[in-house]
């Protein structure tokens, strides 16, 4: 079965985020970029499904500027078979990303689409669910286990307070949570091989999708910074302050 994985290029999670002085956004100039951590987990899951003989082909798709090809190549080095780059320099919001992915799904007809549950930049947690709704597929969100059995996939989901398992008809959409797997690192020979794997390039217009955003960002600010408080001498003083000053216990 064919598996489609969507990956996003975002700021590296180790980089300290700085808001631009003019409050128009976050400063991304000369900042290290990487594959969104949840998307790495999505790629790893697809590769494991292929290693188990469940998946036959892994297609990786990314939407974004030319440099997003780096993340596609990373996924190819990790074991994906071919890439699709939907190239645009415009901001693509979740609904429009889902529409672009829907167009790719209609062309590729995968049995399973795996995405990260959210990207660590916009933190929306929407695209997978929107894609599932637009394509009429079931969804296994925040997955910690994915088991394909015949024409169904059982997905164990991380929910508030525990775990829940659902059975979805295939084709289906899965979004990954942290515990699903631990992504591997790409080996140097595989990085070299990935350079020769096929990568298709297309535009949102080629897919017939209008990507005009519905939400406008009026301003972006740094969060109210916390002031360092006081040092207490011992535990007794700490408990006294918590009870009588902060009144939180």
């Amino acid at each position: 079965m064919k598996v489609l994985v969507a990956v996003k290029r975002v700021i590296d999670y180790n980089v300290k985020v700085r808001v631009k002085p003019d409050n128009t956004g976050v400063d991304l100039a000369n900042v290290k970029m990487a594959m969104n951590p949840f998307c790495e987990i999505a790629v790893e899951e697809a590769v494991r499904l292929k290693e188990k003989g469940v998946a036959s082909e892994i297609v990786v798709v990314s939407i974004g500027p030319k440099a997003s090809q780096e993340q596609i190549r990373t996924a190819l080095a990790l074991g994906a078979d071919r890439g699709i780059h939907v190239e645009t320099d415009e901001e693509v919001q979740s609904l429009e990303a889902a529409k672009l992915l829907k167009a790719v799904v209609e062309k590729e007809e995968p049995k399973l689409v795996i995405l990260g549950k959210q990207s660590i930049d916009s933190d929306n947690n929407q695209t997978g669910q929107m894609l599932a709704a637009l394509t009429g597929m079931g969804q296994g969100t925040f997955a910690s286990e994915v088991v394909v059995e015949g024409d169904k996939v059982n997905v164990t989901r991380e929910i508030d307070g525990g775990l829940m398992t659902v059975a979805l008809n295939l084709p289906a959409v899965v979004t990954t949570d942290l515990r699903l797997n631990e992504p591997r690192y790409a080996s140097l020979p595989n990085i070299m091989k990935a350079k020769k794997k096929p990568l298709d390039n297309m535009s949102p217009a080629d897919l017939g999708v209008d990507i005009a955003p519905r939400l406008s960002t009026l301003k972006v600010e740094a969060p109210a910074s916390r002031q360092a408080g006081v040092k207490v001498a011992d535990v007794a003083e700490l408990v006294d302050k918590l009870k009588n000053e902060a009144k939180v216990i």
């Binding site: 079931g138 008809n169 040092k231 207490v232 011992d234 007794a236 700490l238 918590l242 216990i249």
Partner: protein, 313 residues
């Protein structure tokens, strides 16, 4: 304006997060209806009708909604919600699951995890795990919004007397089936919604030592969390991780024990009301965000903390 709030519940009781979301709805202004979708959820509807500021409670009681499957809830809420100007739900795992489906079916954007209402179409929300705060304006006719419950003080859960109306809309998408559920049996509250969180870091040295934190947590009715360093070292499972790639928490009291305060951890807890840090390294960055810092060996301080708490609680 008319606002539809989707109740969060477990079929037997209304979760407090619903009252926080109603508070967000009040901040927008307009008539507030609450939709209770579930199975045998009459008691929930009665509770919702008592909440302050609620105009009407709509009940969709059917097996299709019993396990809150996103496919079914998505279709139901898109159908019921299309006559409203706003659709709001708590940004818990249920709301996060079905609300984007609602938005997609209505062909509108969703505004996720809002922490403040600026006006009927403008909302403030965290991005980059709270390292930046964005003010966003929606141009859509229906605003689909998920609300961070901890950011809004709940409305009163008693005193209201809204009318309760049964809906006979049954939407079973037939795409998914519930198989099983395994809810943590711990009496401790859920990490993401706990009022007090006690977290341990690499300084805990091993998983067994987390028992010390659990004892302190149980005294206070707190949840137990961990830093990524503690998770990566294998001390505790990943679902306890607080941070940018783990759970984002904003309790009344956060106690960080043996946690240095890496950026990725601070991103997950710096919205807490009061932060306590216990660390033997007085240069640890965690002290820069802590309201109360104690420079001490945690293996001495934590047992002392347990004893002191026993005296006052």
């Amino acid at each position: 304006m008319s606002i539809l709030v989707i109740a969060e519940h477990d079929n037997s009781s209304l979760k407090q997060a619903t009252l926080n979301v109603v508070a967000a709805a009040k901040a927008i202004g307009g008539d507030i209806d609450v939709l209770v979708a579930g199975e045998n959820c009459g008691a929930v509807a009665e509770a919702a009708a008592k909440a302050e500021g609620v105009n009407k409670v709509l009940v969709a009681d059917n097996a299709a909604y019993g396990h809150f499957l996103g496919e079914n809830l998505g279709e139901l809420v898109a159908e019921v919600g299309k006559g409203y100007s706003h659709i709001l739900a708590a940004a818990g795992t249920v709301g996060k699951d079905f609300m984007p489906r609602v938005a997609a079916l209505l062909d509108v954007a969703q505004v996720s995890d809002i922490m403040r209402v600026e006006s009927e179409d403008t909302f403030v929300r965290p991005i980059y795990a709270g390292n930046a705060i964005a003010t966003v304006k929606s141009s859509d006719s229906i605003k689909v919004v998920t609300v961070r419950p901890t950011a809004f003080d709940p409305v009163a859960g008693e005193g209201g007397s809204a009318a309760v109306e049964q809906l006979d809309v049954v939407k079973d998408a037939g795409l998914s089936q519930f198989v099983s559920e395994e809810l943590a049996k711990s009496d401790r509250p859920d990490l993401a919604s706990a009022g007090i969180v006690v977290s341990g870091g690499r300084g805990m040295q091993n998983g067994d030592n987390f028992k010390m934190l659990e004892q302190v947590a149980d005294l206070m009715g707190a949840a137990v969390g961990a830093s990524r360093a503690a998770v990566d070292a294998g001390f505790v499972p990943n679902d306890m991780q607080v941070g940018q790639t783990g759970k984002i928490v904003a309790p009344q009291l956060y106690i960080a024990v043996g946690i240095s305060g890496a950026i990725q951890h601070l991103a997950g807890m710096s919205d807490s009301k009061v932060i306590v840090a216990i660390n033997k390294d007085e240069e640890a960055p965690i002290f820069q965000v802590a309201d109360y810092g104690l420079v001490a060996d945690l293996f001495e301080a934590v047992p002392q903390l347990e004893e002191e708490l026993k005296k006052v609680l």
